[in-house]
Symmetry: C2
């Protein structure tokens, strides 16, 4: 009677509030113990254990034993990507629980999305480039202007190498905490690499957080100024 991939099972797995809370907590990129996850979900240890067994059977999380602790982490990029998509959709519809972004403020400010910068700082970068005409949006995606190429070069990016590779140069990526687009693609990756190289920021180990130094933050805001908050359409 049924056909196609069984999205109902996947949906049901995500559909329980306790499990959804656990998955949301794991989106930080950190591996968490059963006890920690039970607290995140607001259930007892036994219940959490049962939920995690189901998530593991469904291929959502993978355990790693360490001493008498059992650490769970999300099981791969496909899972992370799908959850990001779901979060984007949920945010889009206004289905928020309480806040508009993840709990951890540092995660909300700047984090790694695959290999480019996301979060508030990522959105700033994107908006700044767009406002100054370095990027242009078109029907079929995002393109860099001549100005933008020159700017990237002056920032320290070897633009010739990027374009020679013929890989996607610019792409946009919807940010679930900010509900705005940020810059992905080869150029987005190159900007983040250069930000690391300049010592403005560093990645926090075992998490997706990118922590800016005070001077790095100032330099960033100077390099990527944003005009006064323009009322953008909420995508």
């Amino acid at each position: 009677m049924k056909e196609g991939p069984d999205i109902a099972r996947i949906g049901a797995l995500i559909g329980d509030p306790a499990r959804a809370n656990m998955l949301t907590a794991l989106m930080s990129g950190k591996a968490l113990t059963v006890t920690e996850l039970s607290a995140e979900a607001g259930v007892t240890l036994q219940t959490a254990s049962a939920h995690l067994a189901k998530l593991e059977a469904g291929g959502f999380v993978a355990p790693r034993k360490q001493g008498r602790h059992k650490y769970y982490a999300l099981a791969g990029d496909a899972v992370v990507g799908t959850l990001e998509a779901l979060m984007g959709l949920a945010a889009d519809k206004g289905h928020l629980r309480t806040r508009t972004g993840p709990r951890d403020p540092a995660l909300r400010e700047a984090r790694v999305c695959y290999n480019h910068l996301a979060g508030d700082m990522g959105v700033r970068l994107y908006r700044s480039l767009l406002a100054r005409g370095h990027l242009r949006t078109a029907d079929d995606g995002l393109t860099a202007s001549e100005d933008g190429i020159a700017f990237a070069a002056s920032f320290g990016i070897d633009i010739a190498q990027l374009t020679a590779a013929r890989a996607p140069l610019c792409r946009e990526c919807l940010d679930w905490s900010e509900r705005r687009s940020h810059l992905a693609g080869a150029l987005g990756r190159a900007f983040l690499a250069e930000i690391y190289a300049k010592g403005w920021a560093a990645r926090v180990p075992d998490s997706r957080i990118v922590r800016f130094t005070p001077s790095g933050r100032a330099a960033f805001q100077n390099a990527f100024p944003v005009p006064s908050e323009t009322p953008t359409s909420p995508l």
Copy 2:
């Protein structure tokens, strides 16, 4: 106690088998009536009506009244994209209900994914280009080789215009019916446009199906030969 986007509500919406069946049926791109969807889901009309009300409230589907019929369709590209992601994940884990692809064989053979070719024919195109060295996979994505550029030009694609736009040239996209990658990005779009232009295939109105003519199918298979089935790693 909770924070972040409410993915639980979204998940629960998809998590019910009846609703999942309806959404799967709507992935064809066609708008369907309540009665049709109740049959797809295997429930009575009343139950289907209740489910559709919930899906509508959740922003998954949008109704359109026409006479005494009420047609439902998926509510936008974000929903389609999220469902594709979920289906890919489900297929990935082997969570199949009965078959490995959508019910409609035509849809399984060739369909539009955003603006490029997906389904069996899309996978063939991709594998053929890859096998002949026209495309190369790298850590940071997909690139076209010099050979590939020349081939695309000989196929009738104005490659200079595509590269000038600096938009993503090649991207890969996971196919939920085939569980394989196919070609997306500007080049993928250009190939599909050229296939239309050559009269090999045409899009079926009100659906995502791309229907090949018999001679078009032959020409396609001649232009994009695939080597004997190589046991590729899943994904």
